[in-house]
Every structure is written in structure tokens, then in C-alpha cells.
């Protein structure tokens, strides 16, 4: 599925979300179900400049190219996923390169269409969930209230009201600080125990790719909020990244065909070390 022809919004999923193709697919299906035709766009060709933020000249070039591509697409709204991309667009990209579109985070859009989404959430999902919430970004977009509100519409699901707030705006921010990701995971696991949760719900991709490894040896399920909405809507999906990250035989579960598609050398040097990384706790 690669819907773009009649799209009225661009779904700017960011760069590192390429690990989670099923989330891009599910978001596009959900938006269509609530009356929004979305054209996904992301990867290095739509960079916000963040990976080169220590060089304003290079970052500016990448950011300007992205804004110009969105302008050329002619859609009035760019729907964001990544909090870094969203904040960079607001703070550095649109103020420097004139943007002919408005920006809205995916949580805002779905929250605004909650009454159209609610009747579509028909499959019960028996889960007692803890939200993996960060301090950051909530001051810009109320993700820590909008996501629980949306999840609360799922029949059979209980969202714990827990004060856990991890520093940073998502886990990639704290992963660079020695020991902080492990500390955040320990605090998250303690909150799961304290609240009697059986499911940990991530909001952002960088949190998801680290938190899925917490399933190893523990009776918990780690899912993204989009996965839960999809289950309630009856949309099938597979969280391949989680399967790969927790597999004893990484190459076996990814499969020779997919490894060949990624490129043997790229898989060995760029992908496999990440998938084999032990959980940070």
C-alpha cells in the first residue's frame, strides 16, 4: 500500500521510523478511516536537519530542501510523527524557509477526530497499560494526555494514571547520556510493577526500539500506541522490529531474502549490531 495520489495531507514520519514500516502503514490507514488521505514522506530525503545540528550550514540546507519539497507537494497540512522533526519545523525550519503549509502532530489530528475514531474501535483489547511518558514535547503538544484519551476509547483497555515521566523528549535524547536510558527503563519497570500493568505503551519510535527489548524474560508486552488502536480497529500488523530485536537467531528470523534486499554488508554493519544490542536496564 502506498497511497499518495489524492492525498490532502503529508504524513511526515521522520527518518528513524523506517524501522517501523508497519506503523507508517497503520497511521495512513487510520487517517483514511477518519477522513484524511495521507501521503507518507520520510527518510533522509526529508530530513529536519537534526542529525547535522552541530553544523548550522549543513543542517539549514537539509531543512530547506525538506520545506521546499513539502511546499511543492501543495498540501495544506504536514502531519508530524517525530517530536524532533515537529519542534525543528516550528523552531528552525519554517522561520527560515517560508512554509506554505501548517504543521500538526498526529496525536493532535487523531484527538481532534476522536469522535470519528471511537466507533471504529470495536475489537476489545484486554490490557492494563502504562504509558511510557517523557517530560518533553508535552509542553508543545499534549501527547501525555491525548494518547491516554485515545487509548481510553478502546473497549477492555485500562490506562493507568501514573506519574512516571522520563527526562528528555524521547529516549534517543537520554540514550546519549551515560546510564540514563538504563535508569529510565528501571524506573519504567518499577512503575509497571507498582501499577500492576501488563502492557507498556510507547509513544515515540526511539523509545519503542529500546523498550521492546524489555519483553525479554518478563511477562509484559511492549507495544506502540498505534499498535493498540490498530488492534481495536481490526487492522492486522506485525511488529517486525520487535520480533527481530528479541530473536535469538536474528539472521534466521529476518530471513535471507530480506537481508539480501537490505544489502548483506549494510545488514551486517548497520542493522545487525543494533538488533543484537542487549536491553538497557
Amino acid at each position: 500500500m502506498a497511497v499518495t495520489a489524492d492525498a490532502n495531507v503529508t504524513f511526515w514520519y521522520g527518518c528513524n521510523m523506517t524501522r517501523h514500516g508497519e506503523i507508517v502503514r497503520l497511521v495512513t490507514q487510520m487517517l483514511e478511516a477518519v477522513g484524511v488521505a495521507a501521503a507518507p514522506a520520510g527518510g533522509p530525503g526529508y530530513c529536519c536537519g537534526s542529525p547535522q545540528e552541530s553544523n548550522a550550514r549543513i543542517a539549514a540546507g537539509m531543512a530547506a530542501r525538506t520545506v521546499e519539497k513539502f511546499n511543492a507537494a501543495g498540501r495544506e497540512t504536514v502531519v508530524t510523527w517525530c517530536p524532533s522533526c515537529h519542534m525543528n519545523m516550528d523552531d528552525f525550519m519554517a522561520p527560515v524557509t517560508e512554509a506554505a503549509f501548517e504543521t500538526q502532530h498526529i496525536t493532535q489530528l487523531l484527538a481532534a477526530r476522536a469522535e470519528r475514531l471511537r466507533p471504529l474501535l470495536i475489537q476489545p483489547v484486554a490490557a492494563r497499560v502504562l504509558l511510557h511518558a517523557h517530560h518533553g514535547f508535552h509542553g508543545r503538544v499534549p501527547v501525555n494526555t491525548d494518547v491516554p484519551m485515545l487509548l481510553g476509547m478502546i473497549p477492555g483497555l485500562t490506562v493507568l494514571d501514573h506519574p512516571l515521566r522520563v527526562p528528555g523528549h524521547m529516549c534517543s535524547a537520554i540514550a546519549a547520556v551515560p546510564g540514563e536510558l538504563a535508569r529510565a527503563h528501571r524506573e519504567t519497570l518499577a512503575a509497571i510493577d507498582e501499577g500492576g500493568a501488563d502492557t507498556l505503551v510507547t509513544v515515540f519510535h526511539s523509545c519503542h526500539r529500546e523498550a521492546v527489548a524489555l519483553e525479554r524474560g518478563r511477562p509484559i508486552r511492549v507495544v506502540n500506541w498505534i499498535h493498540l488502536l490498530a488492534e481495536a480497529m481490526g487492522l492486522p500488523y506485525t511488529d517486525d522490529y520487535k520480533l527481530w530485536r528479541n530473536a535469538a537467531d536474528v539472521r534466521g528470523i529476518v530471513g535471507a531474502d530480506r537481508i539480501a534486499a537490505a544489502g548483506d554488508l549494510a545488514f551486517e554493519r548497520l542493522v545487525e549490531p543494533e538488533l543484537r544490542r542487549p536491553p538497557a536496564v
Partner: protein, 140 residues
Amino acid sequence: MQDPGRTLASHVRDHSARLAVACTECGACYRACPMVPRTPPLADAAPEAVMAGIRDILRDGGGTPEAIAFAGACTRSGVCSAACPEQLDAAFLMRLASLRVRGALGDPPRVAPKHDAGWSARVKAFARLTMNQEEQATWL
């Protein structure tokens, strides 16, 4: 309508100057920051003095070791903005200081820049693993 001569560097400089003027060095943002207790060089630092150093960084100065450590420790939690009695966007102020100590404007970095040399190739490799060819052709 933007100034056609505007660049990211001029944008960073302009807002740095604006926020350096507006900040009163009260230290409320520093006290609210969840990273302060997790940053050893800040163990005995005075909040007001650290923020004086941050203002110096925003004004093209060298800052102080504690201010550089504080700017380098920012993980964008954003609680500083809610704590600011002047209602400044303290998170943006710290973002600007963080970019500057990492050498974004061409100065020698005072904090190691974040850099992942394999980022683009890794992102593309994962795309080939999780997206079909039509999706790659239209989504990337």
C-alpha cells in the same frame, strides 16, 4: 514573509540575543531541570551563576564550565519553560545554547557534537527491510 537574507545561523543569533536580554538569571529553569541531579559537574553549582554563563554563551561568549555542562546536558525535557517566572521559552533558550556549545555556528565545539556517521545508510537499510518497493519509491 521571511527576510530573504535570513539563514539558520542568523536565526540562531537573533533569538539567542533576544532571550539573553529577557533572561533574568533567576535560576528557576535550572532548579526545575531533571538533568541537573544527573550531571556530576553541576553538583555544587549555583543556579544563578550557571544561568549567567548560559547568557554569556548566547551572547557569543565562552561561558563557564558549569554553563557548558548544563547546555550539554539538555535532553529537551521542556519543564524549564513551565518554571520560568518570566514566561520565556526556556526550552528554546537552552536548545540555542546547546547548539552553540556543540559548534553549530562554526566555533570550536565545547561539548562533543552528536554525530552518527552511519545514520543515513542505516535508515535506508531499515527501509529496505520494512517497506516494499512501491512504498520505498513513494515514501522516501
